[in-house]
Protein backbone atom coordinates (compact mmCIF):
# COMPACT_ATOMS: atom_id res chain seq x y z
CA UNK A 1 0.00 0.00 0.00
CA UNK A 2 2.80 2.41 0.82
CA UNK A 3 4.16 2.92 -2.66
CA UNK A 4 5.57 5.82 -4.62
CA UNK A 5 6.44 9.24 -3.25
CA UNK A 6 4.35 10.51 -0.35
CA UNK A 7 1.62 13.11 -0.86
CA UNK A 8 2.57 14.85 2.31
CA UNK A 9 6.04 14.73 3.77
CA UNK A 10 6.53 16.50 7.08
CA UNK A 11 10.05 16.48 8.50
CA UNK A 12 11.28 17.90 11.77
CA UNK A 13 8.33 20.28 12.16
CA UNK A 14 8.75 22.68 15.06
CA UNK A 15 6.37 25.50 15.93
CA UNK A 16 6.96 27.90 18.79
CA UNK A 17 4.71 30.67 20.02
CA UNK A 18 6.41 33.86 21.10
CA UNK A 19 4.21 35.34 23.77
CA UNK A 20 4.55 38.04 26.38
CA UNK A 21 5.71 35.50 28.94
CA UNK A 22 8.39 33.86 26.84
CA UNK A 23 8.48 31.18 24.22
CA UNK A 24 6.16 28.17 24.23
CA UNK A 25 7.12 25.31 21.99
CA UNK A 26 3.89 23.74 20.74
CA UNK A 27 5.38 21.29 18.27
CA UNK A 28 8.90 19.97 18.57
CA UNK A 29 10.49 17.89 15.82
CA UNK A 30 7.48 16.03 14.43
CA UNK A 31 7.97 14.01 11.24
CA UNK A 32 5.52 11.89 9.29
CA UNK A 33 4.60 10.90 5.77
CA UNK A 34 1.19 10.46 4.27
CA UNK A 35 0.63 8.49 1.08
CA UNK A 36 -2.33 8.42 -1.26
CA UNK A 37 -5.33 6.62 0.22
CA UNK A 38 -3.61 6.22 3.56
CA UNK A 39 -5.00 7.13 6.96
CA UNK A 40 -2.73 8.43 9.69
CA UNK A 41 -3.90 9.16 13.19
CA UNK A 42 -2.38 11.70 15.53
CA UNK A 43 -3.29 11.08 19.15
CA UNK A 44 -2.52 13.07 22.24
CA UNK A 45 -4.02 14.87 25.20
CA UNK A 46 -5.10 18.49 24.87
CA UNK A 47 -2.11 20.78 24.59
CA UNK A 48 0.04 18.09 23.04
CA UNK A 49 0.42 20.07 19.82
CA UNK A 50 -1.71 17.87 17.60
CA UNK A 51 -4.01 20.66 16.39
CA UNK A 52 -1.07 22.99 15.71
CA UNK A 53 0.50 20.20 13.68
CA UNK A 54 -2.69 19.80 11.68
CA UNK A 55 -3.05 23.55 11.05
CA UNK A 56 0.62 23.88 10.10
CA UNK A 57 0.09 21.50 7.21
CA UNK A 58 -2.00 24.13 5.42
CA UNK A 59 -0.18 27.17 6.77
CA UNK A 60 -3.03 28.25 9.03
CA UNK A 61 -0.92 28.79 12.13
CA UNK A 62 -0.67 32.55 12.50
CA UNK A 63 2.92 33.79 12.12
CA UNK A 64 3.48 35.89 14.24
CA UNK A 65 2.98 34.96 17.08
CA UNK A 66 4.01 31.49 15.92
CA UNK A 67 7.49 30.86 14.55
CA UNK A 68 8.42 27.82 12.50
CA UNK A 69 11.59 26.17 13.71
CA UNK A 70 14.67 26.01 11.51
CA UNK A 71 14.78 22.90 9.41
CA UNK A 72 11.00 22.46 9.51
CA UNK A 73 9.78 21.16 6.22
CA UNK A 74 6.30 20.41 4.91
CA UNK A 75 6.25 19.08 1.37
CA UNK A 76 3.10 18.54 -0.66
CA UNK A 77 3.90 16.32 -3.66
CA UNK A 78 7.51 17.30 -3.18
CA UNK A 79 6.80 21.05 -3.11
CA UNK A 80 8.01 22.93 -0.03
CA UNK A 81 5.16 24.71 1.75
CA UNK A 82 7.04 26.27 4.66
CA UNK A 83 7.70 29.83 3.58
CA UNK A 84 5.53 29.49 0.46
CA UNK A 85 3.63 32.59 -0.69
CA UNK A 86 0.13 33.26 0.63
CA UNK A 87 -1.20 32.82 -2.91
CA UNK A 88 0.37 29.35 -3.17
CA UNK A 89 -0.97 28.37 0.25
CA UNK A 90 -4.42 29.58 -0.77
CA UNK A 91 -4.32 27.21 -3.74
CA UNK A 92 -3.18 24.41 -1.43
CA UNK A 93 -6.05 24.96 0.99
CA UNK A 94 -9.33 23.52 -0.12
CA UNK A 95 -8.12 22.52 -3.57
CA UNK A 96 -5.36 20.11 -2.52
CA UNK A 97 -5.74 19.74 1.23
CA UNK A 98 -9.17 20.03 2.86
CA UNK A 99 -9.84 20.52 6.57
CA UNK A 100 -12.76 19.84 8.86
CA UNK A 101 -12.86 21.13 12.40
CA UNK A 102 -14.08 20.03 15.76
CA UNK A 103 -17.28 22.04 16.15
CA UNK A 104 -19.44 21.79 13.03
CA UNK A 105 -21.91 24.34 14.40
CA UNK A 106 -19.13 26.91 14.57
CA UNK A 107 -17.42 26.04 11.31
CA UNK A 108 -20.29 27.12 9.07
CA UNK A 109 -21.14 30.77 8.48
CA UNK A 110 -24.33 31.33 10.51
CA UNK A 111 -25.91 33.94 8.23
CA UNK A 112 -25.55 32.16 4.89
CA UNK A 113 -27.36 29.09 3.63
CA UNK A 114 -25.51 25.81 3.44
CA UNK A 115 -26.10 25.74 -0.32
CA UNK A 116 -24.59 29.19 -0.79
CA UNK A 117 -21.48 28.11 1.07
CA UNK A 118 -21.05 24.99 -1.06
CA UNK A 119 -21.69 26.89 -4.29
CA UNK A 120 -19.19 29.56 -3.33
CA UNK A 121 -16.54 26.90 -2.80
CA UNK A 122 -17.34 25.14 -6.08
CA UNK A 123 -17.03 28.42 -7.95
CA UNK A 124 -13.45 28.92 -6.76
CA UNK A 125 -12.44 26.46 -9.47
CA UNK A 126 -14.00 28.53 -12.23
CA UNK A 127 -17.28 29.96 -13.44
CA UNK A 128 -20.29 27.75 -12.94
CA UNK A 129 -23.90 28.54 -13.79
CA UNK A 130 -26.37 28.88 -10.93
CA UNK A 131 -28.30 25.77 -11.95
CA UNK A 132 -25.17 23.64 -12.44
CA UNK A 133 -23.71 24.79 -9.13
CA UNK A 134 -26.92 23.91 -7.28
CA UNK A 135 -27.07 20.57 -9.00
CA UNK A 136 -23.50 19.74 -7.99
CA UNK A 137 -24.05 21.04 -4.45
CA UNK A 138 -27.11 18.88 -4.06
CA UNK A 139 -25.20 15.83 -5.34
CA UNK A 140 -22.46 16.54 -2.83
CA UNK A 141 -24.90 16.73 0.08
CA UNK A 142 -26.45 13.47 -1.06
CA UNK A 143 -23.01 11.84 -1.29
CA UNK A 144 -22.37 12.87 2.30
CA UNK A 145 -25.58 11.30 3.49
CA UNK A 146 -27.93 14.26 3.90
CA UNK A 147 -31.55 13.42 3.17
CA UNK A 148 -33.58 15.73 0.88
CA UNK A 149 -30.39 17.46 -0.32
CA UNK A 150 -32.14 19.82 -2.75
CA UNK A 151 -34.33 21.19 0.02
CA UNK A 152 -31.50 21.40 2.56
CA UNK A 153 -29.50 23.65 0.26
CA UNK A 154 -31.67 26.55 1.38
CA UNK A 155 -31.35 25.73 5.08
CA UNK A 156 -29.24 27.78 7.45
CA UNK A 157 -26.59 26.06 9.60
CA UNK A 158 -28.60 26.53 12.81
CA UNK A 159 -31.38 24.42 11.31
CA UNK A 160 -28.97 21.46 11.08
CA UNK A 161 -28.25 18.97 13.84
CA UNK A 162 -24.62 18.49 14.86
CA UNK A 163 -24.20 15.39 12.73
CA UNK A 164 -25.82 17.01 9.70
CA UNK A 165 -23.67 20.11 10.13
CA UNK A 166 -20.52 17.97 10.23
CA UNK A 167 -21.66 16.17 7.08
CA UNK A 168 -22.24 19.55 5.41
CA UNK A 169 -18.83 20.81 6.58
CA UNK A 170 -17.26 17.66 5.15
CA UNK A 171 -19.13 18.17 1.88
CA UNK A 172 -17.79 21.73 1.65
CA UNK A 173 -14.25 20.64 2.51
CA UNK A 174 -14.39 17.88 -0.11
CA UNK A 175 -16.21 19.98 -2.74
CA UNK A 176 -13.04 20.69 -4.70
CA UNK A 177 -11.86 17.10 -4.42
CA UNK A 178 -8.64 17.57 -2.43
CA UNK A 179 -6.20 14.65 -2.26
CA UNK A 180 -5.67 15.05 1.49
CA UNK A 181 -8.22 15.63 4.23
CA UNK A 182 -7.11 16.89 7.61
CA UNK A 183 -9.78 16.13 10.21
CA UNK A 184 -9.17 17.89 13.52
CA UNK A 185 -11.23 16.13 16.20
CA UNK A 186 -14.09 15.68 13.72
CA UNK A 187 -16.25 13.64 16.08
CA UNK A 188 -15.51 15.07 19.51
CA UNK A 189 -18.59 17.30 19.64
CA UNK A 190 -20.94 14.58 18.40
CA UNK A 191 -22.80 11.93 20.32
CA UNK A 192 -21.52 8.32 20.01
CA UNK A 193 -23.98 7.07 17.35
CA UNK A 194 -23.31 10.03 15.09
CA UNK A 195 -19.57 9.65 15.77
CA UNK A 196 -19.73 6.17 14.28
CA UNK A 197 -21.60 7.42 11.23
CA UNK A 198 -19.12 10.19 10.54
CA UNK A 199 -16.15 7.83 10.95
CA UNK A 200 -17.77 5.38 8.56
CA UNK A 201 -18.34 8.25 6.12
CA UNK A 202 -14.65 9.14 6.31
CA UNK A 203 -13.67 5.54 5.67
CA UNK A 204 -15.99 5.29 2.63
CA UNK A 205 -14.60 8.55 1.34
CA UNK A 206 -11.07 7.29 1.64
CA UNK A 207 -11.88 4.18 -0.33
CA UNK A 208 -14.05 5.87 -2.95
CA UNK A 209 -11.86 8.87 -3.67
CA UNK A 210 -8.50 7.33 -2.70
CA UNK A 211 -8.27 10.10 -0.14
CA UNK A 212 -5.36 10.49 2.26
CA UNK A 213 -6.66 11.18 5.76
CA UNK A 214 -4.88 12.85 8.63
CA UNK A 215 -7.11 12.19 11.62
CA UNK A 216 -6.38 14.16 14.77
CA UNK A 217 -8.05 12.99 17.94
CA UNK A 218 -7.56 12.64 21.67
CA UNK A 219 -9.39 9.35 21.48
CA UNK A 220 -7.23 6.28 20.70
CA UNK A 221 -10.38 4.30 20.03
CA UNK A 222 -11.47 6.62 17.23
CA UNK A 223 -8.04 6.49 15.63
CA UNK A 224 -7.70 2.72 16.07
CA UNK A 225 -10.93 2.15 14.18
CA UNK A 226 -10.04 4.38 11.24
CA UNK A 227 -6.28 4.39 10.76
CA UNK A 228 -3.53 1.91 9.99
CA UNK A 229 -0.79 4.04 11.45
CA UNK A 230 -0.79 6.19 14.52
CA UNK A 231 1.45 8.87 15.91
CA UNK A 232 1.28 9.61 19.61
CA UNK A 233 2.17 13.11 20.70
CA UNK A 234 2.92 14.57 24.09
CA UNK A 235 4.07 18.07 24.90
CA UNK A 236 4.78 18.74 21.25
CA UNK A 237 6.95 15.67 20.75
CA UNK A 238 6.31 12.36 19.04
CA UNK A 239 6.53 9.67 21.65
CA UNK A 240 5.36 6.80 19.51
CA UNK A 241 4.91 6.12 15.81
CA UNK A 242 3.87 2.92 14.14
CA UNK A 243 1.09 0.60 13.00
CA UNK A 244 -2.00 0.88 15.20
CA UNK A 245 -1.96 -2.82 16.23
CA UNK A 246 1.63 -2.64 17.45
CA UNK A 247 1.04 0.55 19.40
CA UNK A 248 -2.09 -0.86 20.99
CA UNK A 249 -0.60 -4.25 21.78
CA UNK A 250 2.83 -3.26 22.98
CA UNK A 251 3.18 0.44 23.67
CA UNK A 252 6.82 1.37 23.96
CA UNK A 253 6.32 4.63 25.78
CA UNK A 254 4.77 4.85 29.25
CA UNK A 255 2.60 7.76 28.11
CA UNK A 256 0.92 5.60 25.47
CA UNK A 257 0.21 3.05 28.16
CA UNK A 258 -1.40 5.77 30.24
CA UNK A 259 -3.54 6.80 27.30
CA UNK A 260 -4.58 3.20 26.78
CA UNK A 261 -5.34 2.77 30.47
CA UNK A 262 -7.47 5.90 30.56
CA UNK A 263 -9.35 4.53 27.61
CA UNK A 264 -10.03 1.16 29.20
CA UNK A 265 -11.12 2.84 32.41
CA UNK A 266 -13.48 4.97 30.39
CA UNK A 267 -14.80 1.86 28.68
CA UNK A 268 -15.21 -0.01 31.94
CA UNK A 269 -16.88 2.97 33.56
CA UNK A 270 -19.12 3.79 30.58
Amino acid sequence: MVTGPPLLDVTDLSVAFHGRRGVVTAVDGVSFRLHEGEALGIVGESGSGKTVTALSVVGLVPTPPAVMGEGSSIRYRGEEMVGASEARLRRLRGGEVGIVFQDPAQALNPVRTVGAQIVETLRLDGPLSWADARERASELLAEFGIAHPARQLDAYPHEFSGGMAQRAALAIAMARNPAVLVADEPTTQLDPTVQGQILRLLRDLRERRNLALLLVSHDLGVVAGSCRRVLVMRRGQMVEDGPVEDVLRSPRHPYTRELLDSRSIALAGG
Partner: protein, 368 residues
Amino acid sequence: METGRRVLGALCPGVHQILAGRWAAGLILSGSWVGLLAVATTRWRTFPAVLTGGWDVRIAVAVIVFGPLAAWIWSWRDVRGSREHPEAGSAGEVVGRFVESPAAVAGLLTIIALVVVALITPVLASFHPAEQGDLLAGRFRPPSGTHLLGTDRHARDLLSRILYGGRVSLAVAFGAMGISVGVGTLWGAVAGYVGGRVDGVLMRIVDVFIAFPRLVLLIAVVAMYEPSFVLIVAVLGLTQWPGVARLVRGEVLSLREREFVLAARALGYSRRRILLRHVIPNLLAPLTVAAALGMGNTILLESGLGFLGLGLPAPVPTWGGMVADGRSVLFTAWWVAAFPGLAITVSVVSFNLVADGLRDALDPRLPW
Protein backbone atom coordinates in the same frame (compact mmCIF):
# COMPACT_ATOMS: atom_id res chain seq x y z
CA MET B 1 -66.34 31.88 12.95
CA GLU B 2 -62.91 30.84 11.72
CA THR B 3 -64.07 30.73 8.10
CA GLY B 4 -65.87 34.05 8.43
CA ARG B 5 -62.73 35.61 9.82
CA ARG B 6 -60.69 34.25 6.95
CA VAL B 7 -63.15 35.53 4.33
CA LEU B 8 -63.21 38.93 5.99
CA GLY B 9 -59.42 38.88 6.20
CA ALA B 10 -59.10 38.02 2.54
CA LEU B 11 -61.38 40.91 1.56
CA CYS B 12 -60.10 43.56 3.98
CA PRO B 13 -56.36 43.26 4.57
CA GLY B 14 -55.35 43.41 8.21
CA VAL B 15 -58.60 42.23 9.79
CA HIS B 16 -57.54 38.60 9.94
CA GLN B 17 -54.12 39.47 11.33
CA ILE B 18 -55.55 41.75 14.05
CA LEU B 19 -58.13 39.13 15.07
CA ALA B 20 -55.36 36.53 15.14
CA GLY B 21 -53.48 38.69 17.64
CA ARG B 22 -50.79 39.84 15.25
CA TRP B 23 -51.75 43.44 15.54
CA ALA B 24 -48.48 44.91 14.23
CA ALA B 25 -48.88 43.25 10.84
CA GLY B 26 -52.61 43.92 10.99
CA LEU B 27 -52.20 47.64 11.62
CA ILE B 28 -49.63 48.00 8.84
CA LEU B 29 -51.88 46.18 6.38
CA SER B 30 -55.15 47.85 7.30
CA GLY B 31 -53.51 51.24 7.72
CA SER B 32 -51.89 51.26 4.31
CA TRP B 33 -55.00 49.82 2.68
CA VAL B 34 -57.49 52.22 4.24
CA GLY B 35 -55.17 55.24 4.13
CA LEU B 36 -54.16 54.84 0.52
CA LEU B 37 -57.74 54.15 -0.57
CA ALA B 38 -58.84 57.30 1.27
CA VAL B 39 -56.19 59.31 -0.55
CA ALA B 40 -57.21 57.75 -3.85
CA THR B 41 -60.90 58.58 -3.41
CA THR B 42 -60.31 62.18 -2.34
CA ARG B 43 -57.48 63.12 -4.66
CA TRP B 44 -58.07 61.08 -7.80
CA ARG B 45 -58.54 64.33 -9.75
CA THR B 46 -54.79 64.93 -9.56
CA PHE B 47 -53.97 61.56 -11.15
CA PRO B 48 -54.00 62.79 -14.79
CA ALA B 49 -50.88 64.78 -13.84
CA VAL B 50 -49.08 61.45 -14.28
CA LEU B 51 -49.10 62.11 -18.02
CA THR B 52 -47.62 65.59 -17.74
CA GLY B 53 -45.84 65.63 -14.39
CA GLY B 54 -42.39 64.49 -13.38
CA TRP B 55 -41.20 61.25 -11.85
CA ASP B 56 -42.22 62.24 -8.33
CA VAL B 57 -45.88 62.40 -9.41
CA ARG B 58 -45.64 59.09 -11.26
CA ILE B 59 -44.11 57.40 -8.23
CA ALA B 60 -46.78 58.91 -5.97
CA VAL B 61 -49.63 57.63 -8.14
CA ALA B 62 -47.95 54.23 -8.47
CA VAL B 63 -47.72 53.93 -4.69
CA ILE B 64 -51.38 54.89 -4.27
CA VAL B 65 -52.55 52.45 -6.92
CA PHE B 66 -50.26 49.49 -6.21
CA GLY B 67 -49.96 49.95 -2.44
CA PRO B 68 -53.46 48.70 -1.58
CA LEU B 69 -53.06 45.98 -4.20
CA ALA B 70 -49.85 44.77 -2.60
CA ALA B 71 -51.44 44.86 0.88
CA TRP B 72 -54.36 42.85 -0.43
CA ILE B 73 -52.16 40.20 -2.10
CA TRP B 74 -49.94 39.90 0.97
CA SER B 75 -52.92 39.55 3.27
CA TRP B 76 -54.56 37.02 0.98
CA ARG B 77 -51.47 34.82 0.86
CA ASP B 78 -51.10 35.20 4.62
CA VAL B 79 -54.69 34.09 5.23
CA ARG B 80 -54.33 31.10 2.90
CA GLY B 81 -50.95 29.92 4.10
CA SER B 82 -50.52 28.14 7.37
CA ARG B 83 -48.04 29.79 9.67
CA GLU B 84 -45.14 27.74 10.90
CA HIS B 85 -43.74 28.22 14.33
CA PRO B 86 -40.67 30.48 14.14
CA GLU B 87 -37.44 28.59 14.72
CA ALA B 88 -34.79 29.66 17.18
CA GLY B 89 -32.46 32.28 15.75
CA SER B 90 -34.56 32.77 12.63
CA ALA B 91 -35.92 36.02 11.25
CA GLY B 92 -39.39 35.04 12.47
CA GLU B 93 -38.16 34.93 16.04
CA VAL B 94 -36.60 38.38 15.74
CA VAL B 95 -39.87 39.77 14.39
CA GLY B 96 -41.68 38.07 17.25
CA ARG B 97 -39.46 39.75 19.83
CA PHE B 98 -39.72 43.12 18.06
CA VAL B 99 -43.52 43.22 18.07
CA GLU B 100 -43.54 42.46 21.79
CA SER B 101 -42.66 46.09 22.38
CA PRO B 102 -45.64 48.40 21.72
CA ALA B 103 -43.33 51.44 21.61
CA ALA B 104 -41.16 49.89 18.91
CA VAL B 105 -44.20 48.90 16.85
CA ALA B 106 -45.64 52.42 17.21
CA GLY B 107 -42.31 53.83 16.03
CA LEU B 108 -42.21 51.45 13.08
CA LEU B 109 -45.78 52.31 12.06
CA THR B 110 -44.95 56.02 12.23
CA ILE B 111 -41.84 55.57 10.09
CA ILE B 112 -43.76 53.57 7.51
CA ALA B 113 -46.41 56.29 7.47
CA LEU B 114 -43.75 59.01 7.11
CA VAL B 115 -42.11 57.21 4.20
CA VAL B 116 -45.40 56.51 2.43
CA VAL B 117 -46.57 60.10 2.95
CA ALA B 118 -43.24 61.39 1.62
CA LEU B 119 -43.66 59.23 -1.48
CA ILE B 120 -47.21 60.39 -2.21
CA THR B 121 -46.72 64.04 -1.20
CA PRO B 122 -47.09 65.41 -4.76
CA VAL B 123 -50.61 63.98 -4.84
CA LEU B 124 -51.41 64.52 -1.17
CA ALA B 125 -50.42 68.18 -0.75
CA SER B 126 -53.14 70.69 -1.64
CA PHE B 127 -50.69 73.49 -2.38
CA HIS B 128 -47.27 73.92 -3.87
CA PRO B 129 -44.87 74.53 -0.96
CA ALA B 130 -43.78 77.91 -2.36
CA GLU B 131 -47.26 79.00 -3.45
CA GLN B 132 -48.20 82.27 -1.72
CA GLY B 133 -51.80 83.07 -0.89
CA ASP B 134 -53.41 86.45 -0.32
CA LEU B 135 -50.55 88.46 1.16
CA LEU B 136 -52.92 91.01 2.72
CA ALA B 137 -55.48 88.78 4.45
CA GLY B 138 -53.93 85.32 4.20
CA ARG B 139 -50.82 85.66 6.38
CA PHE B 140 -50.56 83.89 9.72
CA ARG B 141 -54.03 82.35 9.43
CA PRO B 142 -54.74 79.83 12.19
CA PRO B 143 -55.60 76.23 11.28
CA SER B 144 -58.83 76.05 9.28
CA GLY B 145 -60.65 73.99 6.69
CA THR B 146 -58.64 75.16 3.69
CA HIS B 147 -55.33 75.40 5.53
CA LEU B 148 -55.45 72.51 7.97
CA LEU B 149 -52.37 73.66 9.86
CA GLY B 150 -52.66 77.40 9.07
CA THR B 151 -50.39 79.66 7.02
CA ASP B 152 -47.04 81.36 7.56
CA ARG B 153 -45.74 84.92 7.01
CA HIS B 154 -45.89 84.52 3.22
CA ALA B 155 -49.42 83.10 3.36
CA ARG B 156 -48.09 79.67 2.37
CA ASP B 157 -49.94 76.53 3.41
CA LEU B 158 -48.09 75.03 6.41
CA LEU B 159 -49.31 71.45 5.91
CA SER B 160 -48.04 71.34 2.35
CA ARG B 161 -44.72 72.81 3.45
CA ILE B 162 -44.38 70.25 6.23
CA LEU B 163 -45.15 67.43 3.80
CA TYR B 164 -42.53 68.63 1.31
CA GLY B 165 -40.10 69.33 4.14
CA GLY B 166 -40.51 65.73 5.28
CA ARG B 167 -39.41 64.52 1.84
CA VAL B 168 -36.27 66.60 2.19
CA SER B 169 -35.51 65.44 5.73
CA LEU B 170 -36.06 61.76 4.96
CA ALA B 171 -34.10 61.88 1.72
CA VAL B 172 -31.19 63.62 3.46
CA ALA B 173 -31.30 61.16 6.35
CA PHE B 174 -31.44 58.05 4.12
CA GLY B 175 -28.68 59.37 1.88
CA ALA B 176 -26.41 60.34 4.76
CA MET B 177 -26.99 57.01 6.52
CA GLY B 178 -26.19 55.13 3.30
CA ILE B 179 -22.88 56.96 3.03
CA SER B 180 -21.93 56.65 6.68
CA VAL B 181 -22.88 52.97 6.99
CA GLY B 182 -21.10 52.15 3.73
CA VAL B 183 -17.89 54.02 4.53
CA GLY B 184 -17.93 53.14 8.23
CA THR B 185 -18.48 49.43 7.59
CA LEU B 186 -15.64 49.12 5.09
CA TRP B 187 -13.31 51.26 7.19
CA GLY B 188 -13.98 49.44 10.44
CA ALA B 189 -14.03 45.99 8.85
CA VAL B 190 -10.66 46.50 7.19
CA ALA B 191 -9.18 47.92 10.40
CA GLY B 192 -10.50 45.06 12.52
CA TYR B 193 -9.74 42.24 10.11
CA VAL B 194 -6.31 43.27 8.91
CA GLY B 195 -5.26 44.46 12.36
CA GLY B 196 -1.75 45.50 13.30
CA ARG B 197 -0.39 48.78 11.98
CA VAL B 198 -3.24 49.25 9.47
CA ASP B 199 -5.70 49.03 12.36
CA GLY B 200 -3.69 51.56 14.35
CA VAL B 201 -3.55 54.13 11.56
CA LEU B 202 -7.20 53.74 10.52
CA MET B 203 -8.52 53.97 14.06
CA ARG B 204 -6.38 57.02 14.93
CA ILE B 205 -7.99 58.77 11.95
CA VAL B 206 -11.38 57.78 13.38
CA ASP B 207 -10.34 59.16 16.77
CA VAL B 208 -9.45 62.50 15.16
CA PHE B 209 -12.84 62.66 13.43
CA ILE B 210 -14.73 61.79 16.61
CA ALA B 211 -12.74 64.30 18.67
CA PHE B 212 -13.74 67.09 16.30
CA PRO B 213 -17.04 68.77 17.25
CA ARG B 214 -19.42 67.70 14.53
CA LEU B 215 -21.68 70.73 14.42
CA VAL B 216 -18.72 73.10 14.11
CA LEU B 217 -17.37 71.09 11.19
CA LEU B 218 -20.82 71.08 9.57
CA ILE B 219 -21.25 74.82 9.98
CA ALA B 220 -17.77 75.51 8.63
CA VAL B 221 -18.30 73.39 5.52
CA VAL B 222 -21.80 74.68 4.85
CA ALA B 223 -20.65 78.28 5.37
CA MET B 224 -17.77 77.82 2.93
CA TYR B 225 -19.76 76.27 0.12
CA GLU B 226 -23.23 76.99 -1.23
CA PRO B 227 -25.58 74.59 0.62
CA SER B 228 -27.13 72.09 -1.77
CA PHE B 229 -28.84 68.74 -1.33
CA VAL B 230 -25.74 66.78 -2.35
CA LEU B 231 -23.49 68.86 -0.10
CA ILE B 232 -25.71 68.42 2.95
CA VAL B 233 -26.04 64.66 2.41
CA ALA B 234 -22.31 64.30 1.87
CA VAL B 235 -21.37 66.40 4.87
CA LEU B 236 -23.80 64.64 7.22
CA GLY B 237 -22.79 61.23 5.90
CA LEU B 238 -19.07 61.91 6.07
CA THR B 239 -19.24 63.12 9.67
CA GLN B 240 -21.33 60.19 10.89
CA TRP B 241 -19.20 57.28 9.68
CA PRO B 242 -16.48 57.23 12.38
CA GLY B 243 -18.98 55.99 14.97
CA VAL B 244 -20.05 53.21 12.62
CA ALA B 245 -16.41 52.35 11.91
CA ARG B 246 -15.67 51.99 15.60
CA LEU B 247 -18.69 49.76 16.17
CA VAL B 248 -17.88 47.60 13.14
CA ARG B 249 -14.20 47.24 14.11
CA GLY B 250 -15.17 45.93 17.54
CA GLU B 251 -17.58 43.40 16.05
CA VAL B 252 -15.07 42.27 13.43
CA LEU B 253 -12.39 41.77 16.07
CA SER B 254 -14.55 39.12 17.71
CA LEU B 255 -15.94 37.72 14.44
CA ARG B 256 -12.52 37.07 12.94
CA GLU B 257 -11.67 34.74 15.82
CA ARG B 258 -14.74 32.63 15.10
CA GLU B 259 -14.15 29.20 13.70
CA PHE B 260 -16.11 29.78 10.51
CA VAL B 261 -13.53 32.39 9.48
CA LEU B 262 -10.76 29.86 10.07
CA ALA B 263 -12.81 27.33 8.11
CA ALA B 264 -13.24 29.84 5.28
CA ARG B 265 -9.47 30.36 5.20
CA ALA B 266 -8.99 26.59 5.21
CA LEU B 267 -11.12 26.45 2.05
CA GLY B 268 -8.68 28.74 0.26
CA TYR B 269 -10.87 31.84 0.24
CA SER B 270 -9.08 35.15 -0.27
CA ARG B 271 -9.03 37.76 2.47
CA ARG B 272 -11.27 40.07 0.47
CA ARG B 273 -13.82 37.33 -0.08
CA ILE B 274 -13.85 36.38 3.59
CA LEU B 275 -14.27 40.01 4.64
CA LEU B 276 -16.99 40.93 2.14
CA ARG B 277 -18.99 37.71 2.01
CA HIS B 278 -18.45 36.09 5.39
CA VAL B 279 -17.58 38.72 7.99
CA ILE B 280 -19.65 41.73 6.86
CA PRO B 281 -22.94 39.80 6.42
CA ASN B 282 -22.62 38.85 10.09
CA LEU B 283 -22.73 42.55 11.00
CA LEU B 284 -26.34 42.94 9.86
CA ALA B 285 -27.79 43.10 13.36
CA PRO B 286 -25.58 45.82 14.90
CA LEU B 287 -25.59 47.79 11.65
CA THR B 288 -29.39 47.84 11.47
CA VAL B 289 -29.58 49.26 14.97
CA ALA B 290 -26.82 51.78 14.29
CA ALA B 291 -28.54 52.89 11.09
CA ALA B 292 -31.89 53.39 12.82
CA LEU B 293 -30.28 55.43 15.60
CA GLY B 294 -28.27 57.38 13.05
CA MET B 295 -31.41 58.22 11.06
CA GLY B 296 -32.92 60.04 14.03
CA ASN B 297 -29.64 61.78 14.72
CA THR B 298 -29.28 62.90 11.12
CA ILE B 299 -32.81 64.30 10.95
CA LEU B 300 -32.08 66.26 14.11
CA LEU B 301 -28.80 67.63 12.74
CA GLU B 302 -30.32 68.50 9.39
CA SER B 303 -33.10 70.37 11.16
CA GLY B 304 -30.51 72.11 13.30
CA LEU B 305 -28.69 73.28 10.19
CA GLY B 306 -31.98 74.47 8.75
CA PHE B 307 -32.79 76.34 11.93
CA LEU B 308 -29.44 78.11 11.81
CA GLY B 309 -30.14 79.12 8.23
CA LEU B 310 -27.42 76.80 6.92
CA GLY B 311 -29.75 74.18 5.43
CA LEU B 312 -31.09 74.02 1.90
CA PRO B 313 -31.67 77.55 0.49
CA ALA B 314 -34.95 79.42 0.75
CA PRO B 315 -37.61 78.10 -1.63
CA VAL B 316 -37.01 74.53 -0.46
CA PRO B 317 -39.03 73.92 2.73
CA THR B 318 -37.12 72.33 5.59
CA TRP B 319 -38.51 71.58 9.04
CA GLY B 320 -35.64 73.36 10.76
CA GLY B 321 -36.04 76.43 8.61
CA MET B 322 -39.79 76.53 9.28
CA VAL B 323 -39.23 76.43 13.03
CA ALA B 324 -36.80 79.34 12.65
CA ASP B 325 -39.44 81.23 10.63
CA GLY B 326 -41.97 80.82 13.39
CA ARG B 327 -39.64 81.74 16.21
CA SER B 328 -40.39 85.48 16.12
CA VAL B 329 -44.16 84.96 16.07
CA LEU B 330 -44.28 82.17 18.63
CA PHE B 331 -46.83 83.99 20.82
CA THR B 332 -49.04 85.40 18.06
CA ALA B 333 -48.98 82.51 15.58
CA TRP B 334 -47.78 79.46 17.49
CA TRP B 335 -48.71 77.02 14.75
CA VAL B 336 -45.97 78.27 12.40
CA ALA B 337 -43.22 76.88 14.63
CA ALA B 338 -45.16 74.23 16.55
CA PHE B 339 -46.20 71.90 13.72
CA PRO B 340 -42.81 71.57 12.01
CA GLY B 341 -41.28 71.18 15.46
CA LEU B 342 -43.74 68.40 16.20
CA ALA B 343 -42.84 66.74 12.90
CA ILE B 344 -39.15 66.74 13.87
CA THR B 345 -39.90 65.34 17.31
CA VAL B 346 -42.22 62.61 16.08
CA SER B 347 -39.86 61.38 13.39
CA VAL B 348 -36.76 61.45 15.61
CA VAL B 349 -38.56 59.68 18.45
CA SER B 350 -39.91 57.07 16.04
CA PHE B 351 -36.47 56.22 14.71
CA ASN B 352 -35.09 55.99 18.23
CA LEU B 353 -37.95 53.75 19.37
CA VAL B 354 -37.39 51.44 16.42
CA ALA B 355 -33.66 51.39 17.14
CA ASP B 356 -34.34 50.42 20.75
CA GLY B 357 -36.80 47.74 19.71
CA LEU B 358 -34.36 46.36 17.15
CA ARG B 359 -31.60 46.27 19.71
CA ASP B 360 -33.74 44.29 22.11
CA ALA B 361 -34.90 41.97 19.34
CA LEU B 362 -31.47 41.40 17.77
CA ASP B 363 -29.48 41.64 20.99
CA PRO B 364 -26.25 42.95 19.62
CA ARG B 365 -23.88 44.32 22.22
CA LEU B 366 -23.73 47.98 21.41
CA PRO B 367 -21.36 50.49 22.96
CA TRP B 368 -24.06 53.13 23.45
